[in-house]
Symmetry: C2
Subunit: 351 residues, 2 copies
């Protein structure tokens, strides 16, 4: 059953205690996972080639270049120069990729923290794949903001140019069947009644944000936009606190289990057929899946039940790459449920 939660990712761009981590197997699998996610990689490729008019003979900065594939796309699309900044040791592999593809004249791979980088010139375009789970988990958005403020020319282009975080109530009976009923089955399986562990199991499950793919049938109401970032304008302060008041009307009778969060990023639409990169449950699966906030207990709702409350997301004080999420919620004006969720270190580890 753990297989549902297998997609983890990590691109921490700091050293220190993560140094050995970067040099480990996990380091290569995270790149396999990102490159193996063809919704992600092909959407970036399409978006970059779609911008060929803006890239032709221009200077590009790739923030968190990884294996260098986005830099290669930019060079292939006509960029004169690409500065590919990557803090981890995968930068050495990116250099080899650049050489192998005959792009050494166009792409400069720099292994350093973005914040420590020196660029000899301003850039016309910044490209980055900075999005984490829930958009903001472990995210590099603040590095992208720093890059933009330092090096993007006035009128320059951000790829992606905007990001939107969405939110909807869900039913997810699978969690009940797989995770909760498990404890009810122990008596039959082994002759020991373990049903008393059920409330503990349920609350343990729901302490963390859970990364899992749901489908549109799990969605209980019309999704709402939590926040939207214009990448040309978003500030460091904007990502310190995301707040949203919500009021949903339930589609019908269901077991309301909690909420799902997902995001889209948008690319400039030079081509009307351009598709954005969506991690929605209404769209093909990506390695980001959806981020789920389970309540301690399911609540039966009916057609037009009102789910009201607030959502708050902020980076963890101790480690700005981790996330704290607070939820308050009431159903049809009943008692308010308050829950806090944490998204910490364990999401950095590959399964």
């Amino acid at each position: 059953m753990a297989g549902e939660f297998k997609a983890k990712r990590s691109r921490l761009s700091n050293g220190g205690s993560d140094k050995s981590y970067f040099e480990s197997y996990a380091d290569i699998t995270v790149h396999e996972e990102m490159l193996g996610d063809d919704v992600r990689t092909n959407t970036y490729k399409k978006a970059i080639f779609n911008c060929y008019q803006s890239l032709k003979d221009k200077v590009v900065l790739d923030v968190g270049a990884g294996t260098g594939i986005l830099s290669c796309f930019c060079a292939q699309a006509g960029a004169k120069k690409v500065y590919a900044i990557e803090a981890s040791n995968i930068a050495k592999q990116a250099k080899k990729v650049v050489e192998l593809n005959g792009l050494s004249d166009q792409i400069v791979v720099m292994q350093c923290l973005l914040e420590d980088a020196f660029l000899p010139e301003k850039v016309d375009v910044i490209v980055s794949e900075w999005m984490g789970y829930c958009l903001l988990y472990e995210s590099m958005l603040s590095s992208v903001i720093t890059a933009r403020d330092r090096w993007l020319k006035p009128g320059g282009l951000m790829l992606p140019s905007a990001a939107a975080l969405y939110f909807a109530p869900i039913c997810d009976d699978e969690i009940t069947v797989e995770k909760v009923n498990f404890w009810n089955d122990m008596e039959e399986v082994y002759g020991v009644d373990m049903s008393c562990i059920l409330p503990f199991a349920r609350s343990s499950i729901s302490k963390d944000v859970m990364v899992k793919t749901i489908s549109c049938e799990n969605v209980l109401s019309h999704p709402q936009l939590v926040v939207q970032f214009d990448l040309l304008k978003v500030s460091h302060a904007d990502v310190q606190l995301v707040q949203h008041k919500f009021k949903f009307n339930s589609f019908g009778i269901a077991d309301f289990q909690g909420f799902a969060l997902w995001f889209d990023v948008l690319f400039p639409a030079h081509d009307v057929a351009m598709s954005n990169l969506s991690t929605s449950p209404y769209k093909p699966e990506t390695h980001w899946k959806q981020s789920l906030l389970y309540l301690n207990n399911e609540v039966q709702v009916v057609q037009d039940s009102q789910l009201e409350g607030t959502l708050e997301m902020r980076p963890c004080k101790d480690n700005h790459r981790f996330l704290n999420i607070k939820l308050t919620c009431s159903v049809d004006g009943g008692g308010e449920v308050n829950k806090s969720y944490f998204m910490g270190r364990k999401y950095l580890y590959m399964s």
Copy 2:
């Protein structure tokens, strides 16, 4: 592809930095995984009931009792008293399980480190499910030894009573296909040649011990016994270093990729039909799977190729729950390959 590595387990019995870990979701999934492994749990159940003559009206100590299921089996099999020692918070759930099953008169759940426990009497039997990956990873064997030396009556019974670690060379083309060819496919998929990352990917893969299920077709020669522990006699010193000189003859033409490690534990055979708990690739899968040591490169071997070398396992100096493994190996008297493997923190995290 990450799904192959999804079975992780953790039952660290110390507090400190692992405190929050124990209170997390991972804490419940690890118990789900152990209880969901019916080869494990049913073999223990069968072994315990098979010993009913030794358990009847006797005093039992369960080291690392977890959810208390082994303690319940012992009580059901007739034990007069079971001391169930468990350091983590799951002990609170074990207490509830004991009450729910009407076993409170027989089972005393104690939440403490084994090393800090006070027992009011000596015990006739010690039961424990202490085995980690590679038998010794993160293992509680030293706690079991301490328990035995402090509290087991002369002539007392250990369940299991012995453990054996096995070792065999393997071919595993899946790793080549899934993990290595991936990088060769990138040009076709995205138009960027990334084949230069292949050696880095291969060496990254093989830095760690990998936990994965293989089958008997992957085994390249007759397995050898690396070490055997008699649980009545094994000492703390015995588990500080495991050394084995090996000489294998290959079964036939194959790509020799590395080695697999697995273990069996043995229970007293009051019943000739008694089956031991085996994590062998020749037996049904368990959540321990097999532990694989990949070489940096595959080596083509033929019928009766000689694979010679040494294997060394020791607990990591910095953290005795982690493992360091050293391998030297030559094929048909050729150049000796030296490789070190590490099994560290990331195996504690659930996928």
